[in-house]
């Protein structure tokens, strides 16, 4: 027998009869026929389990069943099922869940379109115990390695290339409870490509005993196993971090920097010595900014490169020197205002291995902000890191950049900091196409590689263009919500962007930004559209005879 395209791997244990029947039916009703179902009964004592599995095996030759003599737990049973698998890809299906009838067909099409894909995942929703009511559709972003380190967002349905699953040793008992997350982390470390199928194709049954039903209370150990799985993953890939659970948000994790070395960071601050009212006090913005860096940062190895307009008052420069001492370097800038040119000039005068672009109307909040950003920026696959910026009154000014109609915007601008967004996305480190240049860390090597900031864009979009160039060079852009700073940009400031600036961006990046990988066709303003709720009922149109 030739090997099938998909081996569906399902460990079974004491599954209620109607639930087991529904699972089997959902596989048999797949519109894509080239599959096998590898079932391992983990020594269930309920007699109906063996009877139902036996009948299913007799009924369809693609269904194969093995029975364990002793109960070994989810990892042992899953590994037994993996050992039975002969397919090119392995699809993970829990014994109490259901597949959408077109699940395998749509995954097969996505894999066909991306022959190098080693891992595919789909959207999912939850069903009640009877399988009648669908709720909580999870419309996921496209592949985001950074998000997978802070949330097991790919979860169901996961389809992995079998050769890679075997290469990494299958499921690891050390991470029981989060064994699937560990497996996906290991496989994606080696995957050439990952694809996302943006359709709800998996229905996760919310039972009293499942994480879908009761969350952390159902399997408290699973959340700790998840933390250990990410920690082990960070060590394997050389991300210098310690993983922490978010106690208030089950399933959300945070990376805390644990740097083994402190590369020099050059903080590039373009300024003209402007004064503004901050907290009912007139301040010179750049002095306030530099003071906050010097007084609040826990990182030791940095320099501050102030690129100052010729019009900057000498008193300001003298004050900066008094605040920052030897750390300060002032570079005079003589030409007309051009943010990109000023940053490029600063970079040319910088000594650091890492560069931090910083507006002068910024104030540090989190003392480990430089460590946090360096943790990401040092990684060879990462091009830029952005932070969460808030206004003086605590509202969000920047939580990443998202594109709509090919043009960038700031989602959640003006919302409270505590806003959890959709599926906790405001609290998760994640990959975006771009972040603001008001506070952006990048390696000097990456900066040189893509030719720095575009001086053709003196005011707007130069940061966005820079991030998109990094993306085109195969580097990821990271948004880290745990790096927090004040941005004293006026909340009433109109974002005046000239038509030619928009045209520039569209002309150069239309293809990359036409569909933002973070946005989802089923989401609007952080909420699932009607189509997402009805995803389980959507079938492709059949031709009438």
């Amino acid at each position: 027998m030739s090997s099938p395209r998909f081996s569906i791997v399902t460990p079974v244990y004491e599954t209620p009869a109607p639930v087991l029947r529904a699972m089997l039916r959902s596989v048999r009703r797949q519109t894509f026929a080239d599959w096998e179902l590898c079932l391992v009964d983990d020594a269930s004592t309920a007699p109906h389990v063996a009877a139902l599995l036996e009948r299913a095996e007799r009924r369809d030759p693609r269904i194969r069943v093995q029975r364990r003599e002793t109960n070994g737990g989810i990892v042992a049973a899953s590994n037994d099922a993996l050992a039975m698998a002969r397919g090119e890809f392995v699809a993970l299906l829990d014994h109490d869940d259901k597949l959408h009838p077109e699940a395998l067909e749509l995954v097969a099409a996505a894999l066909e379109a991306e022959p190098e894909a080693d891992y595919a995942y789909t959207d999912e929703d939850k069903i009640d115990a009877r399988g009648l009511v669908h709720s909580g559709p999870f419309c996921k972003p496209d592949w985001s390695p950074e998000r997978l380190r802070t949330q097991m967002y790919t979860c169901h349905l996961s389809v992995l290339r079998r050769s890679l699953v075997e290469e990494v040793g299958g499921f690891d008992a050390e991470f029981e409870g989060s064994q699937d997350w560990d497996l996906v982390l290991k496989v994606t470390e080696r995957a050439r490509k990952v694809v996302h199928v943006p359709r709800v194709l998996y229905h996760w049954r919310a039972l009293e005993t499942s994480t879908a039903g009761r969350g952390v209370e159902a399997k408290p150990w699973a959340f700790e196993a998840g933390r250990r799985a990410i920690q082990a993953h960070c060590e394997r890939i050389g991300l210098q971090a310690e993983v922490e659970r978010d106690e208030g948000r089950p399933g959300v994790y945070h990376l805390r920097p644990a740097l083994t070395r402190e590369p020099k960071i050059s903080i590039l601050i373009p300024t003209n010595g402007q004064r503004r009212e901050v907290r009912y006090r007139q301040v010179t913005l750049v002095e306030n900014c530099v003071r906050s860096i010097v007084e609040s940062s826990s990182y030791g190895n940095y320099e501050i490169v102030c690129v100052a307009d010729a019009s900057t008052e000498p008193g300001v420069l003298a004050n900066l020197e008094a605040i920052a001492g030897d750390r300060l370097r002032t570079v005079p800038y003589e030409d007309a205002f051009n943010f990109a040119a000023k940053i490029n000039l600063g970079a040319a005068n910088a000594e650091g291995e890492l560069l931090l672009l910083l507006n002068d109307d910024i104030e540090v909040i989190t003392p480990d902000w430089l460590e946090r950003m360096a943790m990401y920026a040092q990684h060879p696959e990462i091009g830029a890191v952005g932070a969460q910026l808030i206004w003086e009154d605590g509202r969000v000014q920047h939580a990443g950049v998202q594109f709509e109609g090919g043009l960038p915007g700031h989602p959640m601008r003006g919302f409270t900091r505590g806003f959890k967004g959709y599926a906790n996305n405001t609290h998760l480190a994640q990959n975006l196409l771009a972040v603001t240049g008001a506070c952006l860390m990048t390696s000097a090597a990456a900066f040189q590689r893509v030719g720095g900031l575009p001086t053709e864009l003196p005011v707007n979009y130069n940061d966005v263009d820079y991030c998109l160039k990094l993306g085109a060079a195969g580097l990821r852009v990271v948004y880290d919500p745990d790096t927090l700073l004040y941005h004293f940009e006026s909340s009433s400031r109109s974002s005046e962007v000239a038509d030619w600036e928009k045209e520039y961006l569209l002309r150069n990046w239309r293809q990359e930004t036409a569909r933002d990988p973070v946005s989802h066709p089923y989401l609007a303003q952080q909420m699932p559209r009607l189509r997402a709720h009805l995803g389980w009922a959507v079938r492709k149109p059949r031709l009438r005879r």
Partner: protein, 58 residues
């Protein structure tokens, strides 16, 4: 002006600044929630319109 009086005035200025900053935080919290709820209700209104439109057509 006596030194003591100057110090008291400075203290009062700081107290008033503190009050204003706290008021801004509260206002920010309210404005933020308002923005979230408006976005949500805008979305729900759109959804309801769509559903009603669909029902009328059928």
């Amino acid at each position: 002006m006596a030194e003591g009086e100057l110090a008291r005035e400075k203290q009062e200025v700081e107290r008033l600044r503190g009050l204003l900053i706290a008021r801004d935080r509260e206002l920010g919290e309210a404005l933020g929630r308002l923005a979230e709820l408006e976005a949500r209700s805008g979305r729900l209104t759109g959804l309801a319109k769509k559903l009603l439109g669909g029902l009328r057509r059928s």
